[in-house]
């Protein structure tokens, strides 16, 4: 009897692991397809062969410029930012055990945006200083929200409500900064309200890659601990986990990811919020969904950018498309959450 039970558990484990492997590889394939499509499409369509030759470093008139200078940075930044949003969002959601607790809903992203807009419009800075300021402010806002919600007794619902309030104040500040700016600077800064991949340059890619790689890896390595944290603080401590230390590491890494990505493309609506739950539904329970969430994030950003560029007469920035795709799902999720009864 015991033996039978054991094999059932083992079978379940193997089954879940297989499903994880299959889903993750499918997501990788889909990401690759979308990335390639982004290189192929544009004002001029190039055959796959030309794209490959350009990527290998060959000089082809016209194609080298269109692909190497315009499409490649756009694709790479979309990919990396998507991964960053996906991983950071799902980490926040898992840690706070509430799908609504993603950084874009509780105001961390707005914090980064305020800093970036301030640097660009008022201090007239650009490049890595903007990103550093965005990261620092994102961290400060995250800490502030946590401290405010800690007074008395902590609960996820309280944190989200306070986050919504902080978010509203920060958006007001952004509006103010945009108004004070000279007309010339505004289009560049308007990106901070919706998120867009327009005008990406190759020079910002290496640092972005490094940040996504390092902090993504940290979160992936802590995945096992994250899974235990999800069971609740008391259980985590009982199981021998240093809950506080792990949580601080995870929050730091997520904020770095989200703030840096935001400083590059602006807040792409709902990607951080959607990636985790979608990935979770695809792979089922019991396995880590950090990596799949990152891939889903990349797929969302790349797919939405393709739709925004080619599906309509006007070109929409990517953030608008993710906003439209995300909002029905947000409502469905809310209805399901309330039905199940777990709301705080």
């Amino acid at each position: 009897m015991t033996k039978n039970n054991l094999t059932t558990i083992q079978k379940g484990y193997l089954h879940r692991r297989n499903r994880w492997m299959i889903v993750t590889s499918l997501l990788v394939i889909l990401t690759l397809i979308l990335s390639t499509t982004m290189l192929l499409l544009g004002n001029t369509r190039y055959p796959l062969e030309v794209v490959l030759r350009v990527l290998m470093g060959e000089e082809i008139r016209g194609a080298s410029f269109a692909i190497g200078t315009i499409r490649l940075p756009r694709m790479l930044s979309g990919l990396l930012v998507g991964i960053a949003f996906g991983i950071a969002g799902s980490t926040f959601q898992t840690m706070l055990r509430n799908p609504l607790a993603s950084p874009d809903i509780i105001g961390v992203t707005s914090g980064s945006s305020v800093a970036a807009v301030f640097c660009i419009l008022v201090l007239e800075l650009s490049g890595s200083i903007v990103s550093i300021a965005a990261v620092i402010t994102g961290l400060i806002v995250a800490i502030l929200i946590y401290l405010l919600s800690k007074g008395g007794s902590f609960s996820g619902g309280k944190l989200i409500l306070i986050g919504i309030g902080v978010q509203a104040m920060l958006s007001a500040v952004i509006s103010y900064l945009l108004l004070r700016a000279s007309q010339y600077d505004v289009p560049g800064a308007l990106r901070w309200l919706s998120g867009s991949l327009n005008g990406m340059q190759m020079s910002s890619i290496p640092v972005l890659f490094l940040i996504v790689f390092i902090f993504g890896l940290v979160i992936l390595l802590l995945g096992r601990h994250l899974k235990i944290l999800e069971l609740g603080e008391q259980l985590a401590i009982t199981l021998g986990l240093n809950a506080n230390q792990t949580r601080i590491l995870l929050v730091l890494s997520s904020v770095f990811l989200i703030a840096f990505a935001t400083s590059v493309t602006g807040p792409v609506a709902f990607v951080a919020f959607l990636a985790g739950p979608i990935a979770g539904r695809l792979i089922g329970n019991g396995t880590s969904n950090t990596l799949p969430a990152g891939l889903v994030g990349a797929i969302l950003v790349l797919g939405a950018d393709l739709i925004g560029q080619y599906a309509f007469d006007t070109r929409f920035p990517v953030g608008i498309i993710t906003g439209i795709l995300g909002s029905p799902y947000l409502l469905i999720l809310l209805i399901q959450m309330n039905r199940r009864g777990g709301s705080s």
Binding site: G157, K158, G165, I320, I335, S343
Partner: protein, 332 residues
């Protein structure tokens, strides 16, 4: 509550309101001194430059008073019906719903008069209110404050991204449409005010008539029923009044947030929880708050202007944070 105190508060608010109105006529892209304002007001056919500016500022001043009063009363009603300290037309997503409907109407049905805006806004406000309440009251425990607030905030976020999607491709052509994302009273016209006024009056009267019953409701549904109140009817009437008030306002001003949240709490500190007093006083409070926010927005704008909705959000959001902080985990 002593009568003298109420009268003192009433006189105080009336005085502040008059000061706000004068400020609204004096300050802006062009500063006009008080004597000139009074001269322009007393001689309606004067056509010096300053007099024209003052006359241009009159509609937006009147509208900000009406809109602020509507939002304040609407907030009181919603907090009373749901017995929820953070209920407010903007947090429950009702303003954004109204805004989305108007923008859709402009985009797809080419509506263009204030009268048409109002009907679209009312439809949007009603549907959103029903939807948010429906979602918030699912599951065990009914419509608890936290569930209602989250349902509203999420709905609001979702709807406002739809508004952005409709507005953004047109911003180059119609910069004026930005106020559908953040509310502003700058677009007010006399024609718009006259079409909004009936809704304001009807909403206010229903609100005042239902306030004794709402007072009973504050004691709990069981006690209220025991006192002979038809709880269902009162809720529906008050909700209707609340939606009328905030929907009609949003139709002309776009979604202005946090007035309905902030004003009732401030006024409750001043004049206590009795709705028969609180409701009219919140109308005053809302009018003062929105008018002064509009003036601040014009002063900060430095030539341009900052939408009144931005100022009210900045002033009101800390109140939301404060209420959320103080709330006990069980009750929120």
């Amino acid at each position: 509550m002593k009568h003298t105190r109420i009268i003192a508060i009433l006189i105080g608010s009336l005085l502040s309101l008059v000061l706000c109105i004068l400020a609204s006529l004096i300050f802006g892209a062009r500063y006009i001194s008080l004597p000139e304002v009074i001269e322009a007001l007393t001689h309606p056919d004067l056509d010096s430059l300053n007099a024209i500016v003052v006359h241009e500022r009159i509609p937006r001043t009147i509208f900000s008073i009406i809109a602020g009063a509507s939002l304040g009363v609407s907030g009181v009603l919603m907090q009373a019906i749901t017995r929820n300290p953070i209920a407010d037309p903007s947090i429950l997503g009702v303003n954004t719903g109204a805004s989305l409907f108007v923008v859709s109407g402009i985009t797809f049905f080419h509506i263009n008069t204030a009268g048409q805006y109002i009907w679209f806004a009312l439809a949007g406000a009603t549907l959103t209110a029903v939807f948010v309440y429906g979602v918030g009251s699912m599951g065990s425990g009914g419509a608890t404050p936290i569930k209602l607030a989250l349902a509203g905030a999420a709905t609001s976020a979702a709807l406002s991204s739809l508004v952005s999607a409709l507005v953004l491709p047109r911003t180059e052509v119609m910069n004026a449409f930005r106020f559908w994302q953040v509310g502003s009273v700058s677009g007010a016209t006399m024609e718009g005010i006259t079409s909004v006024l009936p809704f304001f009056i009807v909403g206010l009267i229903i609100g005042i008539l239902s306030s004794p019953a709402l007072n009973a409701l504050a004691l709990g549904d069981d006690v209220a029923t025991g006192l002979g109140v038809n709880t269902g009817l009162v809720r529906i009437a008050a909700a209707l009044a609340g939606v009328l008030l905030c929907g009609a306002t949003t139709a002309l001003a776009g979604p202005i947030g946090f007035v309905g949240l902030m004003v009732p709490h401030m006024m409750r500190l001043l004049c206590g929880p009795n709705l028969s007093i609180l409701l009219p006083m919140s109308a005053f409070g809302g009018a003062i708050l929105l008018t002064i926010s509009d003036v601040i927005g014009r002063l900060l704008g430095n030539g341009g202007e900052l939408e009144a909705g931005v100022i009210t959000a900045f002033l009101g959001a800390p109140i939301l944070i404060f209420i959320a902080m103080r709330a006990k985990v069980r009750s929120i």
